[in-house]
């Protein structure tokens, strides 16, 4: 899909690399064999890195893929999804926990994106405070490929960032949106040439480290509350939950998961 930035693939055993420099914490998704799929192990390492950064009073976090990745992340590790009859996006699902860790982190988290971002990984970068990307970036929301019922707060993560008609296009088509369009629609804060991505992002993050951290932290938290805690009528929520259950109990859900694992197109029947 794009030329590798560097030839060298990462060699470490860890799925995630974490480092701190100049009050900037960097988390690197580093699992090239699985294309940075968001497995429970990888996500727990992300969460652990954030926890560590918190104690060290890091002022900004950059979340990135290893150098040379053409897929920023392949998204949810489909093999870990329940095969049927269980909510695939429950509150304590590893991805959900990671999203909350990013959203509640008391300093800005910047997603630095080179390459394609799939499914749950789009929710992850959308849960970052800002996205800086290069021209190779693309973003897709894939539940419509899998027959998977998305959770309501997950949908809210997109509603706050994008006009609702674009959210719908992304969910209903599962088609990737490419760099320029992602920038036009505001998914991406800054679109910079590949060669400048890292320097631009570091410079951008450095400027934030000079600003007042407490004022930033409380503003981030206020915005989180305003977007994640939007109230919904109780009876309607229970109705939505039942609708979601009929989806993850359906044949289509099983078919979607199976087809993905067998690398063939799914055939959906609406049952």
């Amino acid at each position: 899909m794009s030329a590798p930035i560097t030839a060298a693939a990462p060699s470490s055993d860890a799925l995630v690399l974490a480092s701190i420099a100049n009050s900037i914490g960097t988390i690197t998704l580093n699992n090239s064999t699985r294309r940075n799929a968001l497995s429970e192990v990888l996500l727990d390492q992300v969460i652990a890195a954030l926890d560590d950064f918190k104690t060290k009073e890091v002022r900004v976090v950059i979340l990135r893929a290893f150098e040379g990745a053409t897929v920023w992340s392949a998204g949810h590790d489909i093999k870990e999804l329940p095969q049927a009859n269980q909510d695939p996006l429950g509150y304590s699902d590893p991805l959900e926990r990671a999203l909350r860790a990013v959203r509640a982190f008391p300093a800005p988290v910047i997603a630095m994106v080179h390459g394609s971002v799939w499914g749950g990984a789009f929710d992850l970068v959308a849960s970052c405070d800002m996205i800086i990307a290069d021209e190779t970036c693309s973003f897709a929301i894939t539940p419509a490929n899998l027959g998977l019922p998305y959770n309501t707060t997950g949908l809210m993560h997109f509603l706050g960032r994008l006009p609702i008609n674009l959210v719908k296009e992304l969910f209903f088509t599962a088609a990737p949106i490419k760099g320029n369009d992602a920038y036009k629609w505001g998914i991406v804060n800054h679109l910079v040439p590949s060669a400048e991505l890292e320097a631009f992002t570091t410079d951008f993050a450095t400027k934030i480290t000079k600003k007042a951290p407490l004022a930033i932290s409380v503003a981030k938290e206020q915005l989180r509350i305003l977007t994640d805690y939007q109230p919904i009528a109780a009876q309607i929520f229970e109705q939505l939950q039942e609708m979601r259950r009929t989806v993850y109990d359906s044949k289509d859900y099983t078919e979607g998961i199976q087809a993905f694992l067998q690398k063939r197109p799914a055939v959906f029947t609406g049952k």
Copy 2:
């Protein structure tokens, strides 16, 4: 638990009897062998009767047990509850559908209660607009006996009627509350002697039939909205749903259901 009002038990095959007189529809729970357990069949007959009453512009409904019942209703038909790993109180559960049918019925529904009211049957009478009972009445909320996670709207049905500390006592002890206390706490609108229960209720209903039906209907609907649609922050709702799932996936839930069916005390471990 109480002396039978009349010696004659009902003989019909139907689990529910429905009749209309003087614009008053009467639904009689009529399954003495199962102590009016709220099985799907019985509840669908209740719903069907309400649907029929709606087309016939009944002005008040009386919901009662057959004459002589000492148990008004034994509550949820435990045999029909999922044994594990599925929400026992999903939105389309028969009891939930029946509660909504009563709550959304466009005219007042009066529960006339002689005898004991257990578990889901308490939610049913609490979903009626008013309760008229005699001294034999008692009411118990039994999820704490079964290890069953109640649904949020179900809890709201009680919160609107009772002080929260009483709601908690009822849920946490599963102990029945008897006539005078039920009246003191306002569960029951009127407590009348057994011998007068039927006449009092009919007279009470008759008075309502003279009143303006449209004004009553819209007030009932407004109150339903104000109580059933209370908004809750989306993320918190998903957290509650996950907590509920851990309960219906627990060993205690299985133990509670098994113990009930085997008529032995449950032994709970909190796992």
Copy 3:
């Protein structure tokens, strides 16, 4: 319905008397010929008295009927209700304005009730912060007699004070609730003998004048917000508003108003 407290009926022309003594403002409904019906003129005088009390930093208000009144107030002046096709309880309706003036008054307002309280007058005393009454008191909500669709905030005034099943009984039967029951259900804070009503109320009010007025004022305002501003889903509100419109556009509404004015029983058809 009750023995007159004093033989002398009030002779003044004003529909409302207002006076201040010891930081206690007293508003006396004083229109015996119309049984203190809540006409626009009378209500504007109530509002004016409250406005005046506010500038004079009155610490408690007592709202009462003239001495000897057996009807505390007959409620909405039915002659002033729209005959058809217009919301009879719009936001700027005089009664609604008076209710808001009482609820937003920055000090406690005590309703002192001797005699019967009808319809909109019940909403008025329920909008007072506390009710002190004697054994002659009774309270009725009468829209079901008139075919009048109540407004949603009006229903909320009762929901916050009473269990929902009692609210429904009051609305669906339009029957008066008498002294002891009113006390049992908590409509009335204190039920005292007629002969002591005035002294008890004055003493009660005097104690409040010694307390911290700012702390009281902000607590009252917080409680007002918590009860009057309960959020409702926008689409559902519009649906309720349409339901209400079909009621005030109905034949029954016209019949209800006409029957009342002609002092005959209404015959409702549900159309």
Copy 4:
């Protein structure tokens, strides 16, 4: 305003044409004499077509004007608006019912837009899940031309799609927004040349038919709830409703309707 796509005007008597091919339902507004004004008859045919599509498990709907239309739709049929003293956008108004039918349809609805879209028709296409348009498109919200108070949920349809300052410009100026600007602001998902509009839209829709219909359906419903059911404080809603009533009871409302019907500029006085 633009060259006709085809010379042939439609000849059928029906105001709306409906057809299904390859799981795509197409609804064609087909009333050239009235410029596809949204009369009750036309809207009921739209609703009927949607109902029919639902039973036939159509996977996507395309809503379009007849070929060659330069006006996609002229909007609300002004002749059917109440002349005065009644809410012109009540919950059961035909347009409101049609908007809800589109919004609640259990599969995506795509508006394919060639030509100008006026007033209520803008609300109709904004209620579609996505809009695909060509360079001839324009969109205007016209209540400020008519003196008509818009309903709150109607405003919410635009708030979710557009920045609030643009919503205000559209409402306050009633000026049409043209193709490129509509695309820039995200009103339109895709702007394609006229000659390609139909093929592009069909291709776009076809891709959706391959995706998992249940997952799409529940996501659409969740987004509908999140946008249509936003809670508002009850007392404030009643205040807004009263403000709206003063508008539709005003001289300006009558003037606006009359001027439109008489094809002359309205002269507003703010009374």
Copy 5:
């Protein structure tokens, strides 16, 4: 005020005693010299005991005063309140933290009350799930004595338990409500003779220990959400906060605190 239950006053240095027996944790407020005033030290010991109980899977907690106490607790330690210009009931205030610890404790907490309960201690027992008391009990809310602006969630703790007119009487008069009235109004779940209080409470708690702990825990949490997280319009909340600030910045607040510490009546001016 009442005869001591036992002659022996507690001798331990700890302000709070904690013990576990038969899955029942008991926390005893044990500071007779300060009449169990809710100082930061005492409250932190309560919180610590709850934390410990949580790890030990206690199934019920009893919160009580030491034997022989005639004052269950004197409430907030006034000496620890800010003298001026700072919110005396901020979110991290020790009492607020203790209230949240009780409310969020994953098993029922029963307040066992002998003697008088003042101010913040009333909020503490109202935050317990149930109250069991004897005839010596009394309860008072005292901010109107101090000129202290209560916090909004604190008011909500009372609104969910009591009719609003009683909440207002309690706040506006600061007068204690005694045993029978407390029982009548539902503040107290059970009113039992002093001699039986301990046995009754232990027996009551023991029954709960046999019930399903997970079902109880999730119901308690659901009820907490429904009561503590009621949504309020953001702008109105900021307005309330400002009103509260004017109160704690007022002369009356300083006077109220000073008068209390000097054991003299406060003289309030409303400034």
Copy 6:
């Protein structure tokens, strides 16, 4: 930063000039010595002008800086901010009052922007209904430079206009956004050449004066309610308020204010 539009600086003593022509009211910020800093005096003059315009039934307001200003407004008058321990953005703060006056003004308010807009002035123009600007414009949100905790409704003013990731960038970097980007992101409705700004704005405003004022007024009010009154869970609001307090009580806040007044870079420590 931009060429002066006219050489002549304003000479009047008034900080604000107000005039009306053709139903258009114009408010000119006119304090060149203080770069139109939003001091209490200046803001009270803005509010007074709006009050005056309201009585004169102005149909549109234009809010602008004096001709030749290169800084549209420098924002909050930092000298007037509390130095510590008090909410710098309380509900009755002059800027807050001015924002509400603009937002609640019953006709559209257009910000005409030439030059740079800083801090609170950005909130002021964002609270205007529409912004028309020229290529010299820039906008910055500066609390992260000052260590100042923004208020929740203030954040909401931006959330409704911009994608959340841009809101975060603006808050977290405090960097100015320039003309083209401001237009791209929808901050600005129209970006026109400097030479045409005044004529374009006047023409735009004039068109609005021809439209129906009541319909516009109610739509503006509905949109205000939908954006300013978004509900938030009470307990969470109190938590946010406490977080904000820790910020304005912090050393960083004092440092931020001092550094600004001393025209040196602040050194923040997160304490």
